[in-house]
């Protein structure tokens, strides 16, 4: 088997709070391989979103080892982490986090422009067509519905053809029908781009679409199940 895309060993995360240090993650060890689709589920406050942030290098583990796409994230500086995300990762959030002063196409082109890649806008236009928003490319986020904003966010995440797609409650702010459409789109495109996909969700149906289901409880892995092939 190839090297795992994500290799977590005994990962801990403590964060300061007004009431003192809080243990968010406690000794998480996990291997995720190329092209896997992994759903992380668990009750609110169990640490699943924090785990995803650690995988994205947006949060620094306070203990253990984090290797993602062959890189040791704990040894990398902030800018090196940013470059890794720019070139090889895509991240989708529940709240979309589009840049409000930029149009849809500009939002999608931004990571490619940051990487200095030529034809950023052509590629962004293609992606918007792919997510069904070719006709909305010059619209601002405020002029788009929630579902449309999430499609733009998905297009932006896929723009650099990432090896790893991370999604935090991607359908959490959407109604059931729109959520289902986004979910279907995300799985289709991840497969098309041969990307490993890790998503955090509360949605049973979305979790059920994943090839592997990891359950987090109180900062630790409570269950890890693969679907039968």
């Amino acid at each position: 088997m190839n090297d795992p895309h994500i290799l977590l060993e005994n990962v801990a995360l403590n964060l300061p709070s007004p009431a003192g240090e809080v243990d968010i993650l406690r000794g998480i060890s996990l291997e995720i391989h190329s092209c896997e689709t992994v759903g992380i589920v668990g009750p609110s406050g169990s640490g699943k979103s924090s785990l995803l942030m650690v995988m994205a290098g947006l949060e620094r583990a306070t203990g253990g080892s984090v290797r993602v796409l062959g890189e040791d994230l704990t040894a990398m500086g902030e800018d090196a982490l940013a470059r890794l995300r720019r070139d090889r990762m895509g991240v989708v959030f529940q709240s979309f986090h589009l840049i409000p002063t930029m149009t849809a196409i500009e939002n999608v082109a931004t990571p490619l422009e940051l990487a200095g890649k030529p034809g950023a806008f052509d590629r962004a236009a293609e992606l918007l067509e792919e997510v069904g928003l070719g006709h909305r490319r010059t619209h601002y986020p405020a002029q788009l519905s929630g579902g449309e904003q999430q499609r733009v966010a998905l297009a932006r995440a896929l723009a650099p053809r990432p090896s790893l797609l991370l999604a935090d409650e991607p359908t959490g702010n959407l109604d059931a029908k729109t959520g289902a459409q986004i979910s279907e789109l995300m799985f289709r495109l991840a497969a098309e781009y041969q990307a490993t996909m890790v998503l955090v969700t509360h949605e049973v149906s979305l979790a059920a679409s994943c090839g592997r289901l990891v359950t987090i409880s109180d900062g630790a892995i409570a269950d890890d199940q693969r679907k039968a092939a």
């Binding site: 902030e78 800018d79 720019r86 930029m102």
Partner: protein, 841 residues
């Protein structure tokens, strides 16, 4: 306590964060105005309290080129004790080394001087310092002159034809503030000594002053009595009620101007105040929505937040008054030391009331707008959009209310300013600049927003983000452009005016101006003097007879009652130069009328400066009476001449036909153009051969005037600094308000792979772009204002000073960078995961 008041105060418990900028802006502006007003009041009271010392007596009567006649003196002595003084400028040189000379303003005093106050002397007591010892009179000088000539006690100096012994330095002079601008440092000798030095003979240029100590009596009656007794004396009468009118006027004008600069600071602060209130209401969206849902009417909500804003405003005003009055009280010892006039420092109610009223007007004008629409907004809108995202279309009633408050505010400022004319211009300028900048801010936001989608921003996400942030609807751009534009505009205007005045004085005048003025050339010295100039190689010398006279009547009407244009009033205020000539002096341009025949011997005729003549309502054939050496001369206007006062040539307001002044003792004045190499020989030669002749080096005097203007400029620059600090506070407020957006953008960009440097560059770029544009706009309107002042107030050409212009634009960029960078660094230091988790879209 009413429910509204209770709710308002309860809601304030949530803290005052966000009101920091509000408090800083209001406090700074009010403190500045309170401080300037308090200093101005202290000087006015100081002048009033010390009026006798400043004037040197209860009454001062002065004559030009002559002493009081016996009957005049006797009349004055009937009123009380009299002290006689002579004041003139002359050269003081070292005995035996006549080339070591310096110009001095010499005062000869009798034994009674000073009637009030005391002279500060570093040396023996006054009487001992001035009295003759072995036939040699004593002399005191200001330390600067002693230093320049290397005088030590016992050094013998030459003054006129007399020898004096230097006995000490004069550190303070009680009646100095009532005198005008001196051409040189002060020397003090006894009147008798001065007389013996031959400097008070007929025809020499001196003023005599009679100071009176009067126990009681009606000053008005005394003045009228003197005028009735000696209607043609040409004497000038001043009394303790108006001891130093020039200084009083100057202090009032300067105080009014500085207060208006403070008002500009408040207006700039108003932008920050408005933004702070808007930000506060944004954070209170949930509370406002809940109150409206629970049944609070629009008026109730408006009243609740109006009370809160009023509480904060009162706190800001109180703090400002405390800081302003406190700063003056703390600095009083230093100020008293450095001010050339007496000041009675204290806490005075009126300047504090004015400062408080200006603060209140500002607070009302700038908070009413963000508060007023609270009455109209529907609760559902608040739940759906939040305060900040709402479209705020002004209702007609709000506009009328605001307009009414604006007019009321303007009336209050005009009434309290102390210089309503100046205040009206400043307010009109500020209002115009405010509207212009607000409009430009709006245009700038639109242009930036459109540009962010153009080719220039393609593949430059940092630039696109910067332009997008500048153009974001409801963003900080218009506020920043107004605050920074106003602050830098005021700086640009002051800087450009200052630079142009300095250029005018230092650079432009000397090109055409002579190297020397020589005064007090006696009739019998004129021929040998001009001959010696020729021998020494002077390029050009012009001479003219010189007398001084006071215009007492215009067309037979007493000058004080004649209907004249106020801009010509200065001509009648004191004595003016008078000359006579048989033929027009070289270069004379007659604009109307004709010159008299060379051999004219008829009734006196006068050639008058055209502009001033028109201002006095004169025309060809008009008559005017001039008192020269106590003798009234009535002359008919024969012609008008062009006079270029800035030319530094020999310019006389009045040139009389020769017969008019027949027999009047007089001296001559000369201007000499020469190369720098010949300046020293001419100085030496004059000192040796014509010791009574006073030399005035033009360049030295130009420097003195420029330095005096420089001092004035620095007072203005300190005031401008207050404007800038307020502007910076507003910028910090704007940066703080934009910080939340920046934090979110930084987190998103870093998630998408932007380096810290790339994010920081984008934030810096937006700050620099905005600062650059605000700086350019400020430069444009500030320079336009400076041009208007130069053209219409100083009647001078205007040249844009590149140094000042660059400084203003650079300041714009740097200030906004400074204000924004701290927050940008803060945004970068936040963990993206935390930010993204907490923020919703």
């Amino acid at each position: 306590m009413s429910a509204i008041l209770r709710l308002a105060l309860r809601d304030l418990r949530g803290g005052l964060s966000g009101f920091r900028v509000f408090l800083i802006c209001l406090t700074l502006g009010v403190a500045g105005i309170a401080a300037v007003g308090s200093i101005s009041e202290a000087i006015s009271r100081g002048l009033a309290a010390e009026s006798r010392s400043i004037l040197g007596g209860d009454v001062s009567v002065s004559f030009t080129y002559r002493f009081a006649e016996d009957d005049e003196r006797a009349w004055l002595e009937r009123l009380g004790e009299v002290s006689e003084i002579a004041d003139l400028r002359s050269m003081i040189g070292l005995e035996g080394r006549p080339e070591e000379r310096a110009l001095s303003q010499v005062k000869g005093v009798d034994a009674a001087w000073p009637l009030y106050g005391e002279a500060g002397i570093d040396g023996p007591p006054l009487a001992e310092a001035l009295s003759p010892v072995d036939g040699v009179y004593g002399l005191l000088t200001e330390p600067v002159l002693a230093e320049r000539l290397g005088l030590t006690p016992g050094t013998l100096v030459r003054l006129g034809t007399g020898t004096f012994e230097f006995r000490g330095t004069l550190t303070s002079e009680p009646d100095v503030a009532s005198q005008g601008f001196n051409l040189g440092p002060r020397s003090l000798v006894s009147l008798e000594g001065l007389r013996q030095a031959g400097l008070l003979g007929p025809g020499t240029l001196f003023d005599s002053l009679y100071r009176l100590r009067i126990d009681d009596g009606n000053l008005n009656q005394m003045r009228a009595g003197f005028k009735d007794a000696f209607p043609e004396s040409g004497a000038r009468w001043r009394d303790r009620r108006n001891a130093a009118p020039g200084i009083e006027r100057f202090v009032q004008r300067m105080g009014a101007f500085l207060i208006l600069v403070g008002l500009a600071a408040l207006a700039i602060g108003g932008v920050g105040i408005g933004a702070a209130v808007r930000g506060y209401l944004t954070r209170k969206t949930a509370t406002i929505a809940a109150l409206r849902t629970l049944g609070a009417s629009g008026n109730t909500v408006f009243a609740i937040y109006l009370i809160q804003v009023a509480v904060i405003s009162l706190a800001g005003i109180a703090l400002g008054l405390a800081f302003g009055a406190g700063a003056v009280a703390l600095a009083a010892p230093i100020l008293a030391e450095s001010l050339p006039v007496p000041a009675a420092f204290g806490v005075y109610a009126w300047p504090l009331f004015v400062a408080g009223a200006f603060g209140a007007v500002t607070a009302v004008l700038f908070t009413l707008w963000p508060l007023a629409w609270l009455r109209e907004v529907r609760p559902a809108q608040l739940f759906r959009q939040g305060v900040d995202d709402l479209q705020r279309r002004p209702a007609a009633a709000q506009l009328m209310l605001l307009g009414g408050m604006l007019v009321l505010g303007a009336v209050v400022v005009l009434a309290l300013s102390g210089a309503w004319n100046l205040a009206a211009w400043v307010m009109a300028g500020l209002f115009g600049a405010f509207l212009l900048l607000r409009g430009l801010g709006w245009v700038l936001a639109r242009v930036a927003r459109a540009s962010s989608h153009q080719g220039v921003a393609r593949n430059r996400p940092g630039l696109r983000l910067a332009l997008g942030a500048i153009g974001v609807p409801g963003g900080q751009t218009p506020g920043i452009v107004v605050a920074l534009g106003l602050a830098l505009g005021v700086l640009a205007a002051i800087g450009q005016i200052d630079a142009n005045l300095q250029r005018l004085i230092r650079d432009q005048l000397p090109v055409a101006s002579p190297a020397f003025f020589f005064v007090d050339i006696q009739n019998d010295q004129l021929a040998p003097f001009t001959a010696s100039l020729d021998t020494l190689g002077a390029d050009r010398a012009e001479t003219a007879p010189m007398l001084r006279g006071v215009i007492t009547k215009l067309n037979g009407i007493p000058a004080a009652e004649a209907p004249i244009d106020p801009s010509g009033a200065w001509v009648l205020r004191g004595d003016r130069g008078v000359s006579y000539a048989a033929t027009p002096p070289p270069g004379t341009v007659i604009t109307e009328g004709t010159w008299w025949a060379e051999d004219y011997t008829g009734p006196p005729l006068v050639s008058f400066a055209e502009e001033e003549g028109r201002e006095l309502g004169l025309s060809i054939g008009s008559t005017l009476t001039v008192n020269i050496l106590g003798r009234p001369v009535t002359a008919e206007v024969a012609n008008f001449r062009e006079v270029e006062w800035r030319g530094m040539g020999i310019n006389f307001l009045m040139i009389l036909s020769p017969g008019a002044l027949a027999g009047a003792p007089h001296t001559h004045i000369a201007t000499v153009h020469t190369a720098s190499a010949t300046e020293a020989p001419i100085m030496r030669n004059t000192a040796r051969d014509f010791p009574n002749v006073t030399v005035i080096r033009v360049r030295e005097q130009v420097e003195r005037v420029a330095d005096a203007l420089g001092d004035l400029g620095s007072a203005t620059r300190w005031a401008a600094l207050a404007v800038l600090v307020t502007g910076l506070a507003v910028l910090l407020g704007a940066a703080a308000a934009a910080a939340e957006r920046q934090v979110r953008e930084a987190a998103i960009l870093r998630t998408l792979g932007a380096s810290r440097q790339a994010v920081l560059s984008s934030f810096a770029l937006r700050a620099a772009l905005l600062g650059l544009m605000a700086g350019l706009v400020a430069l444009a309107w500030g320079s336009a204002a400076a041009w208007a002042v130069s053209a219409y107030v100083f009647d001078a050409d205007f040249v844009l000073s590149p140094g000042t212009a660059l400084a203003v634009v650079t300041a714009g960029v740097l200030l906004n960078l400074l204000a924004a960078t701290g927050f940008a660094l803060g945004a970068l230091n936040r963990r993206p995961a935390e930010v993204l988790r907490l923020s919703a879209g």
